[in-house]
């Protein structure tokens, strides 16, 4: 049973346009969400996070939006650059039981930004 779902395996956008990556979750105990970026043959790299007490967090070209009622979050990249081409993983953690270090990942979305 997948608790974090990324339903789009891939996304292709033009350089300079907006990229929107989506993520849905089923576990209502999740209260902290992260996005990681992964290049081939490298480990995932932390990109941005959001706590459930917020609905938006921005860091430069990257913005994460959280809709708790819909159990949905999205990552916006504006403007998209060819170097953003990578696999993006959504991850979540829950505070219950003291295991808030444990990340549950989605399957990832491959973003391709075309020059």
């Amino acid at each position: 049973d997948q608790q974090v779902k990324q339903n789009s395996p891939s996304l292709s956008v033009q350089e300079g346009r907006i990229s929107i990556l989506n993520c849905d979750y089923t576990n209502s105990m999740f209260d902290y969400f992260l996005w990681y970026k992964k290049y081939p043959a490298e480990g995932p790299t932390f990109l941005i996070s959001i706590s459930s007490i917020k609905d938006k967090n921005e860091d430069g070209r990257f913005t994460v939006f959280l809709n708790k009622s819909a159990k949905h979050l999205s990552l916006h990249i504006v403007p998209s650059q060819p170097g953003d081409s990578a696999v993006y993983f959504c991850a979540a953690s829950a505070p219950r039981g003291g295991s808030n270090y444990k990340l549950t990942f989605g399957k990832g979305t491959l973003l391709t930004v075309n020059p």
């Binding site: 974090v4 990324q6 902290y32 990681y36 043959a41 490298e42 480990g43 995932p44 790299t45 932390f46 996070s49 993983f89 991850a91 953690s93 295991s99 808030n100 270090y101 444990k102 990340l103 549950t104 990942f105 989605g106 399957k107 990832g108």
Partner: protein, 114 residues
């Protein structure tokens, strides 16, 4: 500064063979995590260390999997009597502490069991 390193980067094992995968975390990081990433999937949590103490091993798939971090720095993930379903990328991550601190991942060890 140096990031998380893992060795070997690639490992081919015959079914039934034992393997040992090494992780060197970022210096000074208290917490260390192991994840397993099967093809086409996201990383899945295996186990968590705080210094030398293994505080959570709930994700280890069977008793053939064993992890240790005896001196609170380098960690080894050992898989005994490997099976084909063990084929995956094994990722190690470290963080300064554990709670909600950013986890920094190594490049992973790709294990192929034939």
């Amino acid at each position: 500064g140096a990031g998380v390193s893992q060795s070997p980067r690639y490992k081919v094992a015959k079914r039934g063979q034992d393997v040992a995968l090494r992780c060197d975390p970022i210096s000074g990081h208290v917490s260390l995590f192991w994840y397993q990433q099967a093809l086409g999937q996201g990383p899945e949590f295996l186990t968590y260390f705080q210094n030398e103490a293994q505080l959570d091993k709930s994700g280890l798939p069977s008793d053939r999997f064993f992890a240790e971090r005896p001196e609170g720095s380098v960690s080894t993930l050992k898989i005994q009597r490997t099976q084909q379903e063990d084929s995956a990328v094994y990722l190690c991550a470290s963080s300064l502490w554990g709670d909600r601190e950013t986890q920094y991942f190594g490049p992973g060890t790709r294990l192929l069991v034939l």
